[in-house]
């Protein structure tokens, strides 16, 4: 695409990825995405803010060249070094031979690992400024949004916030500006859920940092540029990053997958024990729910117990799938427990327990396992197990 003017002297010089449907292997991108890059001209100096993905290096340089001779770029600002914005960096630096790379301190190590060449970047610290002549870039550190090296770049005179992935979305529309395109709230929310949600605390810190800044335009690296209703998008981030109110009662969720009903009976007995010990509980059949819709509940619960039977020496896929769906929520120190009935070997719950430890769950109890049909004594033991889980909360 051709460069697009945002205001005189500031251009979008990014790439449209209309065909993309899955981003980073893990994320849906029903509407494609864009890799936004921005060229900022001052009276004396020129800065390029963020680049593009390696696969689009050539397309990107084709868009950039009509806007500027790359050799005339003085600063290459990298707000974060994730490869979808830094993959083309080596190609850019080959032609932008006079450009000084600007990154944060953690960015320095990442830059070296991306370029595998000796680059001496300028390190941007909180509040540092670069004067381009009549235009001043100010750097605002925003660690873990969503990479450790993340910063925002604020253009003081024009009141434009170059926000990296923050306030972005996987949404591709060549009209670029949010006031020219249909409502894309769904993509905006999904992007938050997958990318920003694991870092809610840092989202809140960043929102506080930018609260007092006048902002006329937000230029993220994916999706539409915001120049209308900016406050609404920021308010949505406030709302989504807020900590849910602490529930009055403690809660443990019991998930299970059961082929002959034995693990299911254990699940209900553990659930009774949890309830008898005074905590809230929900017992959930993993074959009957979409766990992606339960992430808020899991995050709010003090603990989860996962039950599986063992088939051919492994836990069932539903249980693995549950544990693979939790990367966007905070698990550290959440109580984890596993259980299950089995025919003769019973490795399933043991393997799940190891996986939960790897995910930083606290797993104080050994897995509760029963061979085949739980007897009354086994069910009683399951109830006691549920009670012990509550006392370990």
């Amino acid at each position: 695409m051709n460069p697009v003017e945002i205001v005189p002297g500031i251009q979008w010089v990014g790439v449209l990825d209309t065909q993309l449907r899955v981003f980073d292997v893990i994320m849906e991108a029903k509407h494609g995405t864009t890799y936004n890059s921005y060229l900022v001209r001052g009276r004396d100096k020129v800065a390029l803010i963020d680049a593009s993905k390696a696969a689009f290096a050539e397309t990107y340089l084709e868009t950039l060249r009509p806007a500027i001779d790359p050799a005339a770029i003085d600063y290459m600002v990298c707000n974060h070094l994730e490869p979808d914005h830094s993959g083309a960096l080596a190609d850019v630096l080959d032609v932008a031979s006079n450009a000084q790379v600007v990154v944060t301190k953690p960015g320095r190590a990442l830059l070296r690992a991306i370029l595998n060449r000796d680059v001496k970047p300028t390190i941007a610290a909180e509040g540092d400024r670069i004067d381009l002549g009549g235009r001043t870039l100010r750097f605002i550190l925003a660690p873990f949004l969503h990479w450790p090296d993340t910063m925002f770049t604020y253009l003081e005179e024009d009141q434009i916030l170059f926000s990296g992935d923050f306030l972005g979305a996987h949404y591709c529309d060549p009209r670029l500006f949010n006031d020219l395109i249909p409502n894309y709230d769904e993509a905006f929310h999904y992007y938050f859920q997958v990318i920003m949600r694991p870092f809610k605390e840092y989202v809140r810190q960043a929102l506080d940092k930018i609260a007092s800044l006048p902002i006329k335009v937000v230029c993220p690296v994916h999706g539409p540029i915001l120049r209308r209703d900016i406050g609404r998008y920021i308010d949505l981030y406030r709302q989504w990053s807020a900590e849910p109110p602490a529930p009055k009662k403690k809660c443990v969720l019991v998930f299970y997958v059961s082929s002959y009903g034995n693990t299911e009976r254990m699940a209900h007995a553990i659930g009774r024990g949890i309830r008898d010990a005074g905590a809230d509980v929900a017992v959930v059949d993993l074959t009957a729910v979409d766990v992606r819709g339960m992430l808020d509940d899991i995050e709010a619960a003090e603990g989860i117990a996962v039950g599986t039977c063992t088939i051919n020496g492994d836990a069932l896929e539903h249980a693995w799938s549950l544990l693979s769906s939790l990367t966007t929520i905070k698990l550290k120190d959440k109580l984890g427990a596993t259980f299950g009935a089995f025919g003769w070997s019973g490795e399933g719950p043991l393997m799940l327990a190891e996986r939960m430890k790897g995910l930083k769950f606290r797993v104080p109890e050994e897995p509760m396992r029963v061979q085949l049909v739980p007897s009354d004594a086994d069910l009683k033991a399951c109830e006691e197990y549920g009670k012990r889980l509550v006392s370990a909360l």
């Binding site: 301190k105 953690p106 320095r108 190590a109 660690p143 873990f144 450790p148 090296d149």
Partner: protein, 72 residues
């Protein structure tokens, strides 16, 4: 003779164990041997070198190799 460091020079509490601080290059968490990482069973007085190889940054989980010595 094999050049193996003796127990006396390797023990975490032994004389001469480095009390040098190390900083995570990703999140700037500082590991201070005087404090250790008691939350994960690392007692005070454990030098950075003596941390287990699978020890990770308590703040961001970056590996031990992402740390650099703090110049003081």
């Amino acid at each position: 003779m094999l050049n193996v460091p003796s127990q006396q020079t390797r023990g975490s509490h032994s004389q001469g164990a480095s009390m040098e601080k190390y900083e995570c290059t990703m999140c700037e968490y500082t590991y201070d041997p005087a404090k250790g990482d008691p939350g994960r069973g690392i007692p005070p007085g454990t030098s950075f070198d003596d941390l287990p190889n699978n020890w990770t940054c308590p703040k961001c989980n970056a590996g031990k190799n992402m740390f650099t010595a703090v110049e003081e």
